[in-house]
Amino acid sequence: MNLYHYAAPATFYRMAGRWIPWLSWGAGLLTAMGLYISFFVAPTDFQQGEAYRIIFIHVPAAWMSMFIYLVMAFWCAIGLAFNTRLSYLMARALAPTGALFCFLALWTGALWGKPMWGAWWVGDARLTSQLILLFLYVGIMALWAAIDDPKRGDRAGALLILVGAVNVPIIYFSVKWWNTLHQGSSINLMKAPSMATTMLVGMLVMAIAAWLYTIAVAFVRVRGLILERERHTDWAQEALKEA
């Protein structure tokens, strides 16, 4: 096994193309399973009634938004350290999906907060950090959009993502601090319902589905980016004729 073999754009382009259908089917199947668990297996919560079922989206979405950011930071670090162009493309391909999950986590958080706390938005540390994470995602994509030269865009975006990755835990900590200072009692979404095993299983299934979906979508984007960057090479010309 040669790692450089898979790092070659042409090889990766073909490999990603083979994987996309499997990933998509897997994501669909697991989503169906997750939805079944969320609505038909998981029992009604005695405290929150049916509203708690939002957790099956909210928690996986929040997880994903943070994981995707970390994965992007990882690829950017690799890119800056070893000057591998493919890793920057991975970061570019992941960002929009990360932002989507970030938005969904905020949206579902608000919809959950309303019946539980009577307000769409409370200064919960988790939600506020999530909002700032969304700002980071938007900033990164805006920076990419503003830079015409792909090479400069790759590396400038990578630096920003890494600065953000160092900053995110500090932001989370500071917001939590601010929260306890101003709120008195800290309200925590995760603590509310006691974690039953079925709930955990449901959330995990949904999270894995989200992962497969993310990888599939990112692969499609990476393929597009590779084709665009490598369009002068022979294999890309061939691939374009086939497409």
Binding site: F40, G49, R53, I57, W107, T108, K114, V220, R223, A243
Partner: protein, 57 residues
């Protein structure tokens, strides 16, 4: 089976707006992303093919 009827399922114990609001917007977001992606990919391939033909001349 914990839902006695379809109506009960949709009302979600009075929280229907919030629960379906969450799941609905999530579905919408995913569908939108996939749709945009497919459209973007198709136009990208078209553009690259046009450029290829133009450069071949």
């Amino acid at each position: 089976m914990m839902w006695q009827s379809g109506a009960e399922f949709w009302s979600m114990g009075g929280y229907g707006l919030y629960v379906w609001g969450s799941f609905g917007v999530t579905a919408l977001g995913v569908i939108l992303e996939v749709w945009l992606l497919r459209r973007g990919q198709r136009s990208l391939v078209n553009r690259l093919q046009r450029m290829q033909r133009w450069e071949a001349q």
